[in-house]
């Protein structure tokens, strides 16, 4: 049919769009739904279970039926409600959940089989034979289930998130919301007004009442103009507040570019976290339908939606319509549509004393009991005074009363309260603190009441914040309170839908009752009521009422229904906030990162860091070749490696030594100035947690290192100890990890190389600067540096630290200066091989499940002092643990050693019960010329020389290994001290 007169569409411009491949045209201001209606398209979707043909029910975000796949390619967006898809030029949409065409869906056979698909049927069958569930039944069910499709491509659009803070958040820009915003904004408070629609006004846009002496749209425009001029108010259109979280935090999604063909450089959507001292919930109300047989025919919709389509979008679903109502509000639709030239076939009002409020036939005391027209309504059956008749009409508007849209008010699990007069639930008083409901969302649905309650809610909120509110002058408005008659469904034989999308009928509720699935949650779960994309917005209260009829209890006794976030569906893209792919988490780069890159290094993710894994050279064809070279070069000459990623914490204060003494299980207080000591930290439960070195730079100044992985947690723990456990100590902590570039120089030529860069006047000879010494000095002509003589590789080794900006140049200098000494950069792979060769525990050994005893460090745990974890490390269970860290070497050097293999006594049966340990780390040792490993073996320290079996059933491997000392290289440590 052609457009009606009026409406808030821009007829001067046309927008072209397609639906299921057919091209149509609409206007700016249209939604996809209104534009389709204007093009005589009533059939828009299929239901979930029975694949029933469906049209629009609603005009807003509560729509359960008209779901489409919007856009195409990687931008394909399934399950989009046509009622909230703002029309743009070139929009393309397709119907979904069908095989074949929308009007001929092969899966509609489900509808014929519906007696077999009653509530809960699938729990009772498909069990035999067992294998058939996964092979036959379930695949068939899965194929048929689901709604729209994903594109299977990455979302190409950008998303971001942001944070807003305000005194008052007003949720909803209808009469109540605008009054609230105006009241608050004039008082000078920081106010945010958010509305999901692209146009402010809410229900005012759908009605014809005057506000004062002007049309509502004029009043809205005036308010908008004033609000726009106030710097303390922010209007957020196309913004859905989807969740009320703790302490006044609200989640909201702004659809920045969904109304455009493409975002064009902007984020498509923004996720806002709004921290509001107070909020007004002015989200309006959602009309109820009244189930009767075949009430899901396309063309049957909510009367208020029908009125909205006529008044705001200038469309009617048919030339001749009927209304079915239990209250006065339904009559408004008849009056408004009649005024637009639509023929009113009749208003069927269940109230026996109902009177026509305009020029249309009235069926007082009447009920609509059936409907015909599979793909589009053609006639309805009206029962009145015991007689029934069929009336021709192309559309039926239903008004069963209004449910306050209290979704957000129940996000803290507060139970809505039943209001007998309104015949609906209203927001509970124990809703989210600071959230005040107003207007129709609070059951104050007349325009006058909405305006008034909105302003009052804002005033109350501001008063609570000690801000004085000026009540605005509110226009005169209609103040009709429409009290619905209690009519929850029309009894009859046919199927009467309660939840449209999920195909839950009155019969299903009766069956649930019959089968004792009566608590509301059982009802919902048994029938899937309220689980569809509209989350029961149009179904739950009606279902409760039907159940209450069956149980003979009142509605509130039968149960209440609450909602959980989100209010409407929120795309995962925007919830993710745009941090995808390589920016999922920040990369931390080492001071020599750019240098390593220029050297062609291969990088590896190590916790938050990117580290050079190895440095391939031309001609090397396999990473192992590179790593072997790096290891051998280090052991033979000198290797250089960036070890900046280890956490560094500066510990100062008079009690620094005592503090560290309590943190580490071994003693730190006795450490001499200018020396370094290995330290092992336990958790309070006695398990080894982290290790590193403590360097004492001065009597009251230490620098300690942590492992790369635990730098954050260890620092937190140190602050816990400082502030909470020993607050009376004089200790100051600060992380200095990033401040210093720290480079390991290891190998027999290490000292010779360092002597070339250390400034004159500093003696680093073996005598002057022995193993485990440390010093502050200068290098390369006056650059401040710290030098530590420590070794992870087992070689003569140092770590030199300089301000991070010089790390790059220092690395270049070391490689260049040490060329003749065989200076070779090495990465984390070679580092790993060398530490295994030396038997040093690392992350795989310090996995949070190993005790100091297991690591062979039991004796480090001092009994002479109290330190974290010391007491618990002596518990019976830990003391009885016999597994010890050992070295493992294959009897046949050609055999692999694989980390993750389990260890067994040779020849023993292999089961969990006979399990003797596991291989924690393994690698190829060029030094040994075979794979080697570290592992934990029961009584390992007593089994050196024994041949055991490493079982790796995942790869079908059984390897004979010899138990050896974990120190494959230089077991007596001579190299360290040379």
């Amino acid at each position: 049919m052609t457009r009606l007169s009026g409406g808030l569409i821009d007829r001067s411009r046309s927008l072209s769009f397609t639906f299921d491949g057919r091209t149509f045209s609409g206007h700016p201001g249209d939604t996809l739904a209104s534009a389709l209606l204007a093009n005589n398209v009533r059939l828009m979707g299929r239901s979930f279970k029975y694949h029933r043909p469906r049209g629009l029910i609603a005009a807003g975000s509560e729509e359960p039926n008209a779901l489409v796949e919007l856009r195409s390619g990687a931008r394909l967006e399934p399950n989009t409600r046509a009622t909230v898809a703002e029309l743009y030029d070139g929009l393309s949409a397709r119907s979904q959940n069908r095989i074949g065409s929308l009007s001929f869906d092969l899966l509609a056979m489900n509808d014929l089989l519906s007696p077999f698909f009653a509530a809960g049927f699938y729990y009772k069958t498909f069990m035999w034979p067992r294998a058939f569930w996964e092979k036959l039944y379930e695949p068939a069910i899965r194929r048929a289930a689901g709604l729209g499709s994903l594109s299977m491509q990455a979302d190409p659009d950008a998303y971001d998130k942001g944070f807003l803070h305000c005194d008052l958040l007003v949720i909803g820009g209808g009469a109540a919301g605008l009054a609230a915003a105006l009241t608050a904004a004039r008082s000078g408070a920081q106010v945010i007004l958010a509305d999901e629609d692209f146009r402010l006004g809410g229900r005012l846009l759908a009605e014809t009442h005057l506000l004062g002496d002007e049309p509502a749209t004029e009043w809205v425009a005036g308010v908008e103009e004033e609000l726009a001029s106030l710097p303390n108010l922010r209007i957020m259109r196309r913004t859905t507040v989807f969740g009320a979280f703790d302490h006044g935090i609200y989640g909201a999604v702004e659809r920045v570019a969904d109304h455009l063909p493409e975002p064009g450089g902007k984020p498509r959507q923004t996720l806002w976290r709004i921290t509001a001292k107070r909020a007004v919930l002015a989200a309006g109300a959602i009309e109820r339908h009244i189930p009767f047989a075949n009430n899901d025919r396309p063309g049957i919709m909510l009367a208020g939606a029908m009125r909205a389509f006529a008044n705001r979008w200038a469309v009617s679903p048919a030339e001749r319509v009927a209304i079915f109502t239990n209250n006065d509000d339904g009559h408004r639709t008849a009056i408004d549509l009649a005024a637009k030239g639509i023929e009113i076939a009749g208003v069927i009002d269940s109230r026996t004393d109902a009177k026509a409020l305009g020029d249309y036939p009235i069926f007082a005391g009447g009920l609509v009991s059936n409907a015909k027209g599979r793909l589009g309504l053609t006639k309805i059956e009206v029962r009145q005074n015991g007689r029934s008749q069929w009336i021709d009409c192309g559309a039926l508007g239903i008004s069963g009363g209004w449910n306050p849209n209290l979704h957000l008010a129940s996000h803290h699990r507060g139970r809505p309260v039943w209001d007998e007069t309104l015949q609906s639930f209203v927001p509970a008083k124990d809703g989210p603190p600071g959230l005040i409901a107003a207007g129709a969302a609070n059951g104050q649905g007349s325009t006058a009441a909405a305006l008034r309650s909105g302003a009052e809610a804002a005033a109350q909120a501001l008063a609570e914040l000690d801000l004085k509110a000026m009540m605005p002058e509110l226009p005169q408005a209609e103040d009709a309170v429409s009290k619905p008659q209690a009519l929850w469904h029309v009894p009859g034989k046919g199927r009467a839908w309660v939840d449209f999308q999920n195909d839950v009928t009155v019969k299903d509720i009766k069956l649930a009752h019959q089968e004792n699935m009566r608590p509301v949650e059982h009802l919902k779960r048994w029938t899937t009521l309220g689980m569809a994309t509209d989350q029961g917005k149009t179904a739950n209260v009606t279902a409760l009422a039907v159940m209450s009829e069956l149980t003979g209890k009142s509605i509130p006794e039968t149960g209440t229904t609450i909602f959980r976030p989100p209010y409407t569906g929120v795309s995962l893209s925007v919830l993710g906030g745009g941090n995808t792919a390589e920016h999922f988490r920040p990369r931390r780069l080492t001071p020599t990162h750019h240098w390593a890159k220029s050297q062609g290094a291969v990088f590896v993710e190590v916790g938050p860091w990117m580290r050079a894994q190895y440095f391939p050279r031309p001609g090397e064809t396999h990473w192992r070749e590179t790593v072997d070279r790096e290891v051998l070069a280090t052991r033979k000459g000198v290797g250089i490696c960036d070890v900046t990623t280890l956490g560094k914490v500066d510990v100062q204060g008079a009690d620094a030594g005592e503090f560290l003494n309590r943190l580490y299980c071994n003693g730190m207080k006795t450490l001499k100035v200018g020396m370094v000591r290995y330290g092992l930290m336990l958790r309070e439960d006695g398990i080894a947690w982290d290790d590193g070195t403590c360097a004492r730079l001065a009597e009251d100044h230490y620098v300690v290192t942590t492992t790369t992985a635990q730098a954050g947690p260890v620092y937190r723990h140190m602050e816990f100890a400082r502030q909470c456990l020993w607050p009376d100590m004089d200790v100051q902590l600060i992380s200095t990890t990033d401040a210093w570039a720290q480079i390991a120089v290891a190998g027999p030529n290490a000292r010779r190389l360092l002597e070339r860069i250390v400034d004159e006047g500093f003696n680093i000879s073996n005598e002057a600067f022995p193993f485990m010494a440390c010093a502050s000095l200068t290098i390369c002509g006056g650059l401040r540096a710290r030098l530590f003589r420590i070794s992870f590789s087992g070689e003569l080794a140092y770590e030199v630290a300089v301000p991070a900006r010089f790390g790059h140049a220092l690395m270049q200098r070391l490689v260049k200066t040490g060329k003749d000494l065989g200076a070779t950069p090495y990465g984390t792979e070679a580092l790993g091989v060398m530490r295994i060769e030396k038997g040093h525990a690392a992350g795989n050994e310090l996995n949070g499940q190993t005790s100091p005893q297991m690591l062979g460090m039991g004796r480090m745990v001092s009994t002479k002092k109290d330190s974290i974890g010391a007491v618990m490390s002596r518990r019976e269970g830990l003391a009885a643990e016999t597994r010890r860290l050992v070295g493992l070497q294959p009897v046949d050097p050609a055999q692999p050693v694989v980390a993750g293999a389990h260890l067994f006594t040779e020849g023993a049966a292999q089961s969990m019960a006979t399990d003797q340990g596991w291989i924690s780390s393994a690698g190829y040792s060029p030094h040994i010329g075979a794979h080697i490993g570290l592992g934990f073996l029961a009584h390992g320290d007593e089994r050196i020389g024994e041949v055991i079996t490493a079982a790796n059933p995942l790869d079908g491997q059984q390897v004979a290994l010899r138990v050896v000392s974990a120190h494959f290289v230089d077991p007596d440590g001579g190299r360290l001290r040379d």
């Binding site: 289930a145 949070g848 993750g900 995942l954």
Partner: protein
């Protein structure tokens, strides 16, 4: 009433008039031999096995609200037996074997679907740990496969293999893992227990224990005193609240775990996939919704609801792992109260009160354990001895140093 395809057809043709209540609504009797507190999955399973397997009678399950109200109906429905430690793996594998015959046994289709559980790894260290775990699974008689990148790509080509911050290097796959329709489990056990004479008493809140001379005598409830020879407590997140009435402090904190589901979509995800470098795991339900979750919120809570940062964190993980889900919409979120234990493993044990038994500490992993937990708890209640696979779940393991800490994070409940 026996459920079957024939029955469904017969009822369909006769107007569904013959369907009977799934269970009775009995009033509580003055006393029972066994009172199980908690009508969730574990409590119902316990009653079921007590009656069915251990031949016990005079059993009641007391539920404060409606059957299945707790975490059994508020989880992400995953079943798996992919544990590392000998204290855990045999137990969870026992559970898996019980799952595998459950529906036929209790005559209720819980839609057990073994479409596989794939845990991704992103570093060599993770791979080594997974290999150790996979081997432990095989040694315990479970199934496991270690996949490399190509193996993962073949199973799930839609993951981000191209420009990930943490590249997928492979995964540990348990093909027998999968999902189960969570409510179906509660209802199947409830119906099975009811048919064997167990009284399932809803809206019956326990308000106190009657303990005399160190021995349990019964429980005070909102529906009056109920005597009991033995009382088993299986109340998950409410454990602290309930056991406080018996004067117990426990190695448990209650935390909130959120879970999420998207709008229905045509099938895209074959089994369960977990991200090893972010907080995200996902499966797709038979109805088409992507069911997913991540970490617990991290603070003590009894509120059954969580906060926005975790929602964002989980979505961020999901987008990093599988950017093709971006245009799907989150439909619903929910929060469950998790009884997070100090080592991440459960407790099935006696207490200091004779006749009072405790089943708790399931963290966020109680769903998959439901059959074995019920079975082992029934075993303990009926025979006063732990089931073989649950020997490690003792209360005194903390003080004695026999913790079962899969994650290796120590006494930090919010990190397990």
């Amino acid at each position: 009433m026996h459920f079957s395809g024939f029955r469904v057809i017969k009822e369909a043709l006769t107007g569904h008039k013959g369907w009977k209540p799934l269970w009775r609504n009995p009033d509580p009797q003055p006393s029972y031999d066994y009172v199980i507190i908690g009508g969730g999955g574990h409590g119902l399973a316990t009653a079921y096995y007590l009656a069915r397997t251990f031949g016990q009678a005079r059993i009641a399950v007391l539920e404060k609200g409606w059957l299945g109200q707790g975490n059994i109906g508020r989880n992400t429905t995953i079943i798996r037996s992919n544990y590392l430690l000998p204290g855990n793996e045999p137990f969870y594998e026992f559970s898996m074997k019980l799952w595998e015959g459950l529906e036929q046994e209790f005559n209720f289709n819980a839609m057990i679907s073994q479409r596989g559980v794939l845990n991704l790894y992103h570093s060599d260290a993770q791979r080594d740990a997974f290999r150790r775990r996979g081997n432990a699974m095989l040694l315990a008689g479970a199934d496991a496969e270690l996949l490399d990148t190509a193996g993962v790509r073949a199973m799930a080509p839609f993951l981000n293999f191209d420009n990930a911050r943490f590249p997928i290097k492979g995964g540990l796959l348990q093909r027998r893992g999968g999902t189960v329709r969570h409510d179906g489990v509660a209802w199947g056990y409830a119906r099975g227990a009811d048919r064997r004479g167990v009284d399932l008493i809803q809206n019956c809140e326990v308000t106190g224990f009657r303990i005399e001379d160190g021995r349990i005598r019964g429980v005070e409830t909102s529906r009056g005193y109920i005597g009991a020879k033995k009382v088993g407590v299986a109340v998950a997140g409410s454990t602290g609240r309930v056991m406080q009435m018996a004067g117990m402090r426990l190695p448990i904190e209650s935390h909130v775990l959120q879970a999420f589901v998207t709008e229905g979509l045509k099938p895209v995800i074959p089994g369960v996939i977990t991200f090893g470098a972010g907080h995200f795991y996902v499966s797709q339900s038979d109805k088409g919704g992507l069911v997913f979750g991540g970490d617990i919120d991290g603070y003590n809570s009894y509120a059954q609801r969580g906060n926005l940062p975790v929602v964002e964190d989980v979505a961020e993980g999901g987008m990093a792992l599988m950017p093709m889900i971006g245009r799907a919409r989150l439909l619903r979120s929910w929060g469950g109260i998790m009884d997070m234990s100090m080592d991440g493993s459960p407790i099935i044990d006696r207490t200091h009160v004779e006749g009072l038994y405790l089943n708790a500490g399931w963290c966020y992993g109680g769903f998959k354990a439901t059959p074995a937990s019920g079975y082992a708890f029934a075993h303990l209640l009926a025979r006063d001895a732990p089931h073989d696979t649950a020997r490690g779940y003792r209360l005194d393991r903390f003080a004695r140093g026999h913790v079962i800490d899969e994650k290796g994070v120590g006494a930090a409940p919010n990190l397990h």
